[in-house]
Amino acid sequence: MRLTCPLCGERDRREFYYYGAEDYLHRPSEGAPLSEWDSYLHLRDNVAGVVRDLWYHEAGCAQWLVVTRNTVTHEISGVELVAERAK
C-alpha cells in the first residue's frame, strides 16, 4: 500500500502510522453528555467499503492526514492535510 502525502508525494505505507477513524477529529464540546464521549472514543461505523481515517506521516513531514480509502480493496482515493482542512 502506498499513500500520496500532499506534501511529500507518494510514499510507502511504512512511513505512516494509523490512528483510527476520522471520528477522532470530532471531539465533543465541553459539557457534552457522556454518551457523546462514548461515541467519540469507542463506537465506530466500521464500514466495509469507503472510509475516512486518520494517518500520521511519522517518517516524513510529521503531518496528520485524513485518508479516504476502501477497506475492502485498499484503494486510496484521497489524502488531505488535517491542518489545511481546519482552516
Binding site: 506534501l7 511529500c8 510507502d12 512511513e15 516524513g60 513531514c61 503531518q63 492535510l81
Partner: protein, 181 residues
Amino acid sequence: MPDLIAKSALEGRSLALGGVTLAEVDPGPITSIALYPGGTKTAAKGLRTLGLAMPGPNSFIEKKGARIVWTGREQAFLIGVAPPAIEGAALTDQSDGWAVLALSGVAAVEVLARLVPVDLRLAACPVGTALRTQVNHMNAVILRTGDYGFEILVFRSMARTAWHEIENAMHMVQARAGTKI
C-alpha cells in the same frame, strides 16, 4: 563555564568502496525555522538578508555557503550559517542534534536504493531535492546535492547505526558490481 571541545559524531571518518565514498561532513550551524501562524511575510524578510527564502516542499536552496532545507509544513533547517534576526518564526539551534553523511559516486544511488523506500534516481529526484524519509528504520533527511551525490542527515544518536547500515549496503553493491549476470 568550562571550555568544551566540539566533537563530531563520527570523528570525520570516511570510507571508499566500489567507487562510492561515504564521509562524515561538518555542516556548520543548523537552525530550525518554524513559522508562527501568520509569520510567512516577516520570516521571508529576515531570510532575504541571506538571499534565501522558505523552500517549497521536498527542496532546498543554496546561496554562498548558506543552505535552507524544507523539513516539513511551514518549517525549514537553515544550515551552514548563523541565523539572521527572523521575526514570525521560532528559531531553535539544532547543530549538535544531527550527524551529516555525504555519499557520492556513480553507484551511490544504488546503495541508497537498498535502504530508502523512495525512488532516488535522478529523474525522480533531481539535484536540489530534500526528502524526509527513512534509512532502513531510521528517520532521515536526504538531500540530492549532485548528479552522483547525496547528503544524509540522521539523529546524532543514530550516527553509528546509519554508518553501519550504509557501509553494509556499500559492500553489497560493490559485490554485486563484480558479479557478471
